[in-house]
Symmetry: C2
Subunit: 334 residues, 2 copies
Amino acid sequence: MELFDLGDFPLSTGVTLPAAKLAYKTHGSLNKARDNAILFPNFLGGPPEALEACIGEGRALDPSKYFIILPGNFGLPPTSSPSNTSLPFAEGAFPPVNIADDVVAQHRLVTEKFGIEEIALALGWSVGGLQIYEWAVRFSHMVKHLAPIATAPRPSPWTRLWLRMVIEEPITSFPAWNNGFYADAKAVQPALRRVGHGTALTLPPHGFYREGQEVWRSLGFISPDDFVARFWEAYWLPQSPNDIVAQARKAAAADPSQGAGTATALGKIEAKVSVITFTGDPMFPPEEGKWDADHMPNAQFSEIHSIFGHLATFSLSEQDTKAVDEALRALLAD
Amino acid sequence: MELFDLGDFPLSTGVTLPAAKLAYKTHGSLNKARDNAILFPNFLGGPPEALEACIGEGRALDPSKYFIILPGNFGLPPTSSPSNTSLPFAEGAFPPVNIADDVVAQHRLVTEKFGIEEIALALGWSVGGLQIYEWAVRFSHMVKHLAPIATAPRPSPWTRLWLRMVIEEPITSFPAWNNGFYADAKAVQPALRRVGHGTALTLPPHGFYREGQEVWRSLGFISPDDFVARFWEAYWLPQSPNDIVAQARKAAAADPSQGAGTATALGKIEAKVSVITFTGDPMFPPEEGKWDADHMPNAQFSEIHSIFGHLATFSLSEQDTKAVDEALRALLAD
């Protein structure tokens, strides 16, 4: 990934982050009109490779047609994060950050680095979706199309509890955590295993583990334990505990309305929107996505019948991949 | 509660538990024919008071008509448990126990203490249901009616993960746990808070926390945090960590078929059965209860439309209370 130098960056939380950096990766080329940019920010702890599974020639996100920017966000290295920031803001002393800070930083990348004034499409899933909703409200004139996928403008009360109880607290209640001033991240690994197990339990849909269904088999695992270890533990264990906590707290506090109420924020979105949800997604139930679509001036809603629930965002089956591609293609053609 | 002396009790796991005790409580009186007994075992960590909310004159479980026995189970004090057993089996050295051991002990109580040869109705919810399924398979000639409520003959793969990831591991991965040889249970309290939070997140149905629904308000709480603290933390924090772990491991291993397959076990049940499920129960989805009912010779299935999901077992609304009472009454009248 490349790094965009944000300089001394004033955070919305009242602290200036010295020599802040925003990581990004691009695919394709910006056209002369500078109007073929697609913005695709990241989900919680996610590496850009997971997003890149959605990009390809002939796909909706076609790098031969679009200039696709995958911007990072604070708390997710190599963007400025607890684990890569110098004193006085290293590790447990990293200042609180907001999704709005991510979006202001991304806006600077897009405008200052690339001279882009119009985003053809902003899309994102899960915590990536929180960022694009913030974009569509804060820079409503810039975002032409918006595709929130398995996400929400603001985490629901259940999702806020989830961010706290499944992601944050297993780490912060673990003694070796020591307020984020652990001597060695490995000492906190038992807590990251808890995060892995909590996500394994709560993110797949209910039928995923059911006898007679055992959807994990379709992903090449030979038992639930195999799936838990090689998919979920493998995802969380290499990450920095402080970085995970910073991202979870940031996501939990997301509110593009800045207290005015979600309906008010949604009413300001000028983009054409396609709200995409997945059947059985325990984190972003389709009925909640429907509510969001109903409160935007120019939005349509779709529910994709996937056996993967929230995991459908990972394009785990050809059927899901096709369904998402078709929804994005229809939106872009609009 | 009263204590039934089991003497030196040979556990199915190959260890004799010295001077074992089974706690129980009764309501009503045994009739002369000794055929009006109702057996209502306990759920995970549950006090008998929770079950007693289902008992009352004019209710289906009417103590003026029935002799209602609320038997304990191993791991749940005052029945023999890690926290109340002497050396060499105290605390972390308590031997593994099975649901089958609970049921053999309960059978001794019922037959030796009360001379009962016929159970008019065995009912139980959640982990209580694991016990009555074991009863109905192991002592199939004795159990005339069976009402499994929000439960299963054997925990599903998801429920086994839940028992491990929400109940057991937050405790056993906490350093002060020390293999069950903690100096003071209070040192493990942060882990019990995690158990409280995991159960708060995973047991209510999804709409429970949703804006515009906020079902917790109907229970007298003023915020999700208030509900989490005063309902869930209050439930788990006073319990012994070793006792909780013993119960969770026992539940996870439940299998009335002893490896022969659930359908085989269900086929042996002679009782008239009413499988009762609740809409939105994330732990025992109605479609799984339907499968159970379809595999018993004489069972009917019902789904109660409750807003409480798995919590509907606690009789939290008049509507749920009535619906369960009606289902039990219909079964007993059959």
